[in-house]
Symmetry: C2
Subunit: 306 residues, 2 copies
C-alpha cells in the first residue's frame, strides 16, 4: 500500500526506514492507511470527526507511537483532530510529522490539531517534523495546532522541526503547566524562497514550582518571512526561560516578539532573543580550512539548526 515516494516521505518526517515498532497510525492524503496498537497503547478512530484518539495506559514505560501524515497529491485539504491521553506515570515517545509532496498546481494543506492530556507524573517526548517537496507549483501548507495540559509532576519535551519545503505555516502551540510540571520546547525552522512561517507558543505557569524552557532557532533565507510570538505567563511560583535566535540572510525578514508576563512575585521569567547574520569569524575560519563560502555557510547553518 506504501510506494517508494510514500516511504521517502515517511523517512523525512518520522525517520522511518521501515514499518515502526510499537503503536502507529499512518495517514495518507486524508485517510488512514495502516495502524498498529499494542497491549498498552490503543488507537481509536474518532466517531464524530476526522482523527484518532491515542490512549496510553498508566505506567506504560518505554513505548512509542508513530503517527506520520503524508500528502502526495495536490488539492488536498486535510484537517485532522487527534487526542492523546498519556496515562499517569507513563513514559512514551510520540512521533508525529507531516510530509507533503505536491506534484500539481493547487495547494495541498494539512492541519493537525492535537490535544494532549499528560497525566500526573507522566513523561512525554513529542517530535514533530515538517517537510515539503514536489515538482508542482502548488503550495505546501502546514498549520499545526497543539494544546497540552501538563498535570502535576509531568515532564514534557517537544521537538518542533520544519526542515524545508513548506511554503506557508502557522504553528500554534499552547501549554498549561500544573504544579511541579517541567517543559522543554525545542523549535528549529528554516525558510527560503518566498516562504512564510509564523510560530506562536504560549506557556502558562499555573501550578507551583513548574518550569518552562523554550529554545527556538531559525534561519531565514532569500525573501522568506518569519514571525515568532512567544507568550510566557507566570501565575504561580515557577521559572520560565525563552531563548530565540535567528540567522537572517539575503532579503529575508524576521520578527521576534516574545512576551513575558508575571502575575506572581515568585514567578521568574527570562527571555532572550537575537537576530543576526552568520558570524564572519566562523565563515573565515572554515574557508581557511578549504571550504568554499557556500559550503562554509552550510556547515554553520546545519550546526546552528542541529
Amino acid at each position: 500500500m506504501l510506494n517508494a515516494l510514500d516511504r521517502l516521505m515517511l523517512e523525512k518526517v518520522a525517520d522511518l526506514h521501515e514499518i515502526p515498532q510499537g503503536a502507529f497510525n499512518i495517514r495518507k492524503n486524508g485517510a488512514g492507511v495502516q495502524r498498529n496498537t499494542t497491549a498498552n497503547i490503543d488507537i481509536v478512530t474518532k466517531a464524530d470527526k476526522s482523527g484518532i484518539d491515542v490512549i496510553v495506559k498508566p505506567f506504560t514505560v518505554g513505548e512509542s507511537v508513530h503517527i506520520p501524515v503524508i500528502v502526495t497529491a495536490d488539492n488536498i485539504n486535510d484537517v485532522v483532530y487527534n487526542t492523546f491521553e498519556i496515562g499517569e506515570y507513563s513514559d512514551v515517545l510520540v512521533v508525529a510529522g507531516c510530509g507533503i509532496h505536491n506534484p500539481g498546481t493547487n495547494a495541498s494543506q494539512h492541519d493537525g490539531i492535537h490535544n494532549f492530556f499528560v497525566r500526573k507524573g507522566a513523561k512525554l517526548k513529542y517530535v514533530e517534523k515538517h517537510y515539503g517537496q514536489g515538482e508542482g507549483q502548488g503550495q505546501r501548507i502546514l498549520n499545526p495546532r497543539t494544546f497540552i495540559e501538563a498535570e502535576e509532576g509531568s515532564t514534557i519535551e517537544l521537538e518542533l522541526i520544519q526542515i524545508k519545503g513548506i511554503d506557508r505555516t502557522k504553528r500554534d502551540t499552547e501549554i498549561r503547566l500544573m504544579s511541579e510540571a517541567r517543559l522543554v520546547v525545542t523549535e528549529r525552522l528554516l525558510t527560503n524562497k518566498d516562504q512564510e512561517a509564523e510560530s506562536n507558543i504560549s506557556v502558562e505557569i499555573l501550578g507551583a514550582n513548574s518550569s518552562a524552557q523554550i529554545i527556538s532557532r531559525s534561519v531565514a533565507q532569500d525573501n522568506s518571512k518569519q514571525e515568532f510570538n512567544f507568550d510566557l505567563v507566570g501565575r504561580n511560583k515557577g521559572r520560565g526561560h525563552i531563548q530565540c535566535d535567528a540567522i537572517i540572510m539575503h532579503n529575508a525578514q524576521v520578527h521576534s516578539i516574545p512576551k513575558i508576563s508575571a502575575y506572581h512575585s515568585d514567578a521568574q521569567l527570562i527571555h532572550e532573543a537575537a537576530i543576526g547574520r552568520i558570524e564572519s569569524e566562523q565563515l573565515i575560519k572554515l574557508m581557511s580550512l578549504g571550504f568554499s563560502e557556500s559550503e562554509a555557510e552550510d556547515v554553520i547553518l546545519s550546526g546552528f539548526l542541529k
Copy 2:
C-alpha cells in the same frame, strides 16, 4: 513667584536648588512663569498652540536648557507641545520633567508632547524625571510623548525616570536613527500602591551603521501594574540591543513585550528581559550585616534603580 512647594517640586524633577544657569522655561499649572534665553539658545512661545520652540544654534557646546513643569493644584489638564531644534554639531543638555503635587480630589494631568530634531553631528542628552505627591485623593497622571529624529552622526542619550507618586502614566517614545547615529536610552521606573505604568519605546534603525541601546529597569510593588512595549526595527546595517529587568514584589504585575524586527541581513538585534524577585542571597547578606529586611530591600532596590 515661586513658593516653597514650587521649589521642592523643582528640586525633585530637575535637581534645581536655585534658578538654573543658562536657558530655562518654568511652567506652573498650565502657564509659563519664568524664562531665560542665551545668545545660543532661544525659547519662543508657540503661536498656534500651547508650548514652546527651543532653538539651539549650530555649534553650541556645553550649554543646558531646563524646562521643568510643576502642577500644584487639582483639576489641571495641561497639554503642551514643545519642539526642539538641536543645531548641527551642538552638544547640549536638556532637562525636562514634571512634578505634580495634587492637594485635591480631582485628577491633575500633564501631557508633554516633545518633538526633537537632532541635526547632523549634534549631541543631545535629555533627562526627564517624573514625580508626584500630595495629600489629596486626586490622581496624578503623566502621559509624555517624545519623538526624536536623529540625523546623520548624531548622538542621543535619554534618561527617563519616574521616581514615585505617579498614579497613571503612558509613556510613548519614538526615535528614528539616520546613518551613524547613536542612541542610548535608560529608563527607571518604580510603581507601588495601585499605580499603573505603560512604557512604549520604538526605535527604527534607518541609516547605515547606526546603533541603539535601551536599558530599562523597574520595580513593581503592592498592586501596581507595569507594561513595557519595546519595538526595535532594523531596516539597515546596524546594531540594536534592548535589555529590560523588572523586580516584582507583593501582588504586582509586570508585562514585558520587546519586539525585534529585522528587514536587513546586516541588522543585528538583541533583546533580553527578565522579571524576578529580589535575590534572596543579597537580602541575606545585607541582613547579616545588621540591616532589617525592609532596610535591606531598600538598599537593593535603590541600587537597582540607580
